[in-house]
């Protein structure tokens, strides 16, 4: 598996809203700006739909860092921004309980032409992952189920 050697070991998941971060990522692409290929961007309609258990599960499965790129106060959905912030804060608590460094999860407002902030976020996350390494795996399932009900 030669690819495994060349790609940074850690995997970064980016949830990017269609009204914000996803367009920002596209704008970075249109400018042909290089960034590490270990980031996987999933378009999301809203960032507010993901419960804490989703993030915990993703870390459990092999994701090492997650950046939620939402539209912040520019969100077209009423209450999305507040709710997302609340969920992320809840998740931080659960991450600490599970010995997951909360810095592995970041919430960032990225607008449709926010190319530099977009790249900054990716660079910061990669710098962090270089420092702290992959996320610890092998959490007991019970903890995840517990997180599910706590959300």
């Amino acid at each position: 598996m030669t690819t495994q050697l060349r790609t940074p070991v850690c995997k970064v998941l980016i949830l990017a809203t269609l009204s914000g971060g996803y367009r920002g990522a596209d704008a970075a692409g249109q400018s042909h700006l290089e960034y590490p290929s270990n980031s996987y961007i999933l378009p999301v309609r809203t960032a507010a739909m993901f419960p804490p258990s989703f993030y915990l599960n993703a870390f459990q499965q092999g994701i090492d860092g997650i950046i939620v790129m939402y539209s912040g106060t520019d969100s077209p959905y009423k209450g999305e921004s507040e709710r997302t912030a609340k969920i992320i804060n809840q998740t931080y608590v659960l991450m600490k309980e599970r010995a997951l460094d909360p810095r592995r999860l970041r919430l960032a407002a990225i607008c449709t032409v926010c190319v530099r902030p977009f790249l900054n976020e990716i660079q910061k996350m990669n710098a962090l992952l270089e420092e702290i390494g992959p996320a610890p795996r092998g959490l007991p399932t019970a903890l995840i189920v517990q997180a599910q009900s706590a959300s």
């Binding site: 598996m1 030669t2 690819t3 060349r6 790609t7 995997k11 998941l13 367009r23 990522a25 596209d26 970075a28 692409g29 249109q30 042909h32 700006l33 290089e34 960034y35 290929s37 996987y40 961007i41 999933l42 378009p43 999301v44 309609r45 809203t46 507010a48 739909m49 993901f50 419960p51 989703f54 599960n57 993703a58 499965q61 092999g62 994701i63 077209p76 959905y77 009423k78 209450g79 999305e80 709710r83 969920i87 599910q148 009900s149 959300s151």
Partner: protein, 691 residues
């Protein structure tokens, strides 16, 4: 040329697929090379080969230009010939071509929501140009995530709701009239209700309109005539909303219509009014004059027949004695009418700011009046007199009840100050000043202001003219509020206006005057009951709030309820009419097809999983989108969440809190995202050999 037979077959297939599940996944996967844009970095053939080995993948191809006609034909052929029932394309950004490919699969008879798009260009080849192997490996993972999502995709159909085409317009002022007229001319029936017994709103009270210098009465008369002539408009005056139910396209609204108490053909109008012994301040003249309990506000009003003011009528029956039996009925009950409408236009207008007692001498000295009162004074008198004395010197003070500063101005009963600019008062004040100068050239006019805001087209002319007309301008700082005091006994002028004038080096100036006119601001009409019933929201300034000032400037957060005119904020007549027409357009877009089509991306509850906890109901930010229903099943009482698709905007907040994962946003299901994460992290054998 397409074969017409094939076309009709695919159309039929489209119908079946839209409503029935698509069957076991047979996924077609297409990797676009985008010329060299993707292909020079990502080894597309290798990607297609790797993906072809994944479960449920029926066919995996790579092609130079998937968006071209031959590229699209590859997809449609695979759907019709190979039974492909889910399609994943990796190409340029989804914003460029997702719609293109959705239409492609639909053309081949597949539900358009069984398509998934991966942005291989903007998010892979263009940003990992320096390492083709990494870019290729990433492409495989991105595409396999798309395939994982595709396995779980279900056909979706836009939510179609039958819509009533009738529109309710609330408010018979210039905005309501304009909105009703535009909607009716677009072909939709309108019910126009006005709370008072006469159409026209505040414009009826002005004699003159800027920036056109036209006669307000003539403008209004013309507009009302057009509205009356429009057969699609039904008008109720004395009418108010008493209850509302339903949602966009399907509102059930009950209105209550107060009787006029006077028959349309009642002839002895003048005698009846003369006979009435009651005297109350005439609101049409802002209390400058008195009127009777049976009255018409002004000559030429519509409807023309007078009305009984039930609040002040003493039931003395004097008016009944003037003859024409049955022409007047003092005991008629109100009538309630149920309306079915598809949309509501809120055009409830404004009221002038009422200064509190003692504010700049208002209510304390009779020589202090408001600008609306001055307008009535000018409209009803040939001479400029006040308290039977000619007005020789006059001071007009701007920003009374506008641009207020917290801590310096007394708050309104709700605890807030009016910190906004009322927009129209500067030009209205200067317009009045110029008219006074023209009619009474010997009157000296002082204008006390902070900033002159003659912003609109033609407004600056009023300022220039006022300067030429010899109006004396005095400018004060916001925190140095002018004072109005009583002159010493025996002084030539009854009042003194004290201003610290910044145009003359901050000198404290005292202006002796006969009359002080306060340019009062604009406040929204008191409509809190209506706001509650329609579940719309006022902003911090108490005016009704739009969704977004640029994206949806006249729409409220409640679908199907739109705003027209000064209910939304201070506006001139022109701006009110423009806003009203914009509201009419939004209504026409919504209802002209008789159906409301909504995106399928709404919340959906799995009743098997739902435990009726109601977390979703608690957090839902959309009014009326989700509620709990109780039903009896096998002798057990069950509570289940139920979504009203018309009110749901698919924000997904409910998904994040459901303890039993019973709710999802269609098309964006949580399990789809989990499957994608699994594919991204999988130690997939597909990656072997990528180097």
């Amino acid at each position: 040329m397409p074969d017409p037979t094939a076309e009709s077959q695919t159309a039929a297939a489209g119908k079946i697929n839209a409503s029935s599940p698509a069957g076991a996944p047979r996924i077609g996967v297409y990797v676009c090379e985008c010329g060299g844009n993707i292909g020079e970095t990502v080894r597309c053939e290798q990607v297609a080969n790797a993906l072809g080995k994944l479960a449920n993948v029926t066919i995996a191809r790579h092609y130079q230009f998937m968006c071209s006609d031959p590229g699209q034909k590859l997809i449609t052929d695979d759907i019709t010939e190979k039974g492909v029932n889910r399609v994943v394309v990796g190409a340029c950004s989804l914003f460029l071509h997702e719609q293109t490919f959705r239409k492609t699969v639909e053309r081949a008879g597949l539900n358009p929501y069984l398509y998934y798009h991966i942005g291989l260009r903007e998010q892979d080849s263009w940003v990992h140009h320096e390492c083709p192997a990494d870019a290729t490996a990433k492409a495989i993972r991105m595409m396999s995530a798309g395939i994982a999502k595709a396995r779980l995709m279900q056909p979706l159909a836009p939510v179609h709701l039958d819509a009533d085409q009738r529109v309710l317009v609330i408010g018979g002022g210039v905005a309501g009239l304009r909105a009703a007229l535009s909607i009716a001319r677009r072909g939709l029936p309108v019910t126009l209700i006005e709370k008072s017994h006469f159409l026209g709103g505040h414009v009826a009270q002005w004699e003159h309109l800027f920036p056109t210098d036209e006669d307000a009465a003539a403008l209004l008369e013309g507009l009302i005539e057009e509205v009356i002539a429009e057969s699609k408009i039904t008008i109720y005056t004395g009418a108010e909303v008493v209850s509302t139910k339903g949602y966009v396209g399907n509102f059930d609204i009950r209105i209550r219509v107060q009787p006029r108490g006077v028959a349309k053909d009642f002839a002895a109008v003048d005698q009846a009014i003369a006979a009435c012994p009651v005297q109350v301040p005439d609101e049409f003249n802002f209390g400058l004059t008195q009127r009777k309990a049976i009255y018409q506000p002004y000559v030429g009003c519509y409807p023309a027949s007078p009305v009984i003011d039930r609040e002040h009528c003493t039931r003395c029956n004097e008016c009944l004695r003037v003859g024409q039996n049955g022409g007047i009925r003092l005991d008629e009950p109100p009538v309630e009418i149920d309306l079915k409408v598809g949309a509501v236009v809120v055009a409830t207008g404004f009221r002038p700011y009422e200064p509190f007692a003692g504010e700049m001498g208002y209510g304390e000295f009779p020589e202090v009046i408001t600008l609306p009162q001055l307008e009535r004074l000018l409209a009803t008198n040939d001479r400029l007199e006040w308290n039977a004395r000619p007005v020789r010197r006059l001071a007009m003070i701007h920003c009374v009840g506008s641009r207020q500063i917290e801590g310096m101005h007394a708050p309104q009963p709700d605890g807030k100050v009016n910190d906004y600019c009322s927009r129209v008062c500067c030009t209205a004040t200067l317009s009045a000043a110029n008219r006074i100068h023209t009619r009474f050239p010997n009157v000296t006019i002082y204008d006390v202001y902070q900033d002159i805001r003659t912003y609109g087209r033609g407004h600056e002319d009023y300022y220039v003219r006022a300067c030429k007309n010899g109006v004396t301008f005095l400018r004060h700082l916001p925190e140095e509020i002018p004072e109005v005091i009583r002159s010493e006994k025996g002084a030539e002028y009854p009042l003194l206006v004290k201003v610290k004038d910044r145009l003359t080096w901050g000198e404290e100036i005292e202006l002796p005057v006969d009359l002080v006119v306060l340019s009062v601001g604009i406040m929204p009409s008191p409509i809190s009951d209506l706001v509650d019933m329609l579940k719309i929201a006022p902003g911090n300034d108490r005016f009704l709030l739009e969704v977004h000032p640029k994206l949806r400037p006249v729409e409220t957060a409640v679908a199907g309820v739109v705003l027209a005119g000064t209910a939304q904020g201070p506006m001139t007549v022109q701006e009110s009419c423009a806003a009203a027409e914009a509201a009419a357009t939004k209504v026409a877009v919504l209802l002209s097809r008789g159906k409301v089509e909504l995106e399928p991306y709404v919340a959906q509850v799995d009743p098997e999983r739902c435990q009726g906890v109601g977390e979703c109901v608690c957090v839902c930010p959309q009014e009326g989108a989700i509620h709990l229903e109780t039903r009896i099943e096998n002798g057990k009482m069950l509570r289940r969440a139920v979504v009203t698709a018309a009110n749901c905007n698919g924000c997904g907040v409910c998904v994040s809190v459901c303890p039993s994962r019973a709710i999802d946003v269609q098309g964006w299901r949580l399990d789809g995202f989990e499957a994608m994460v699994e594919a991204i992290t999988a130690e997939t054998p597909a990656l072997e050999g990528v180097a």
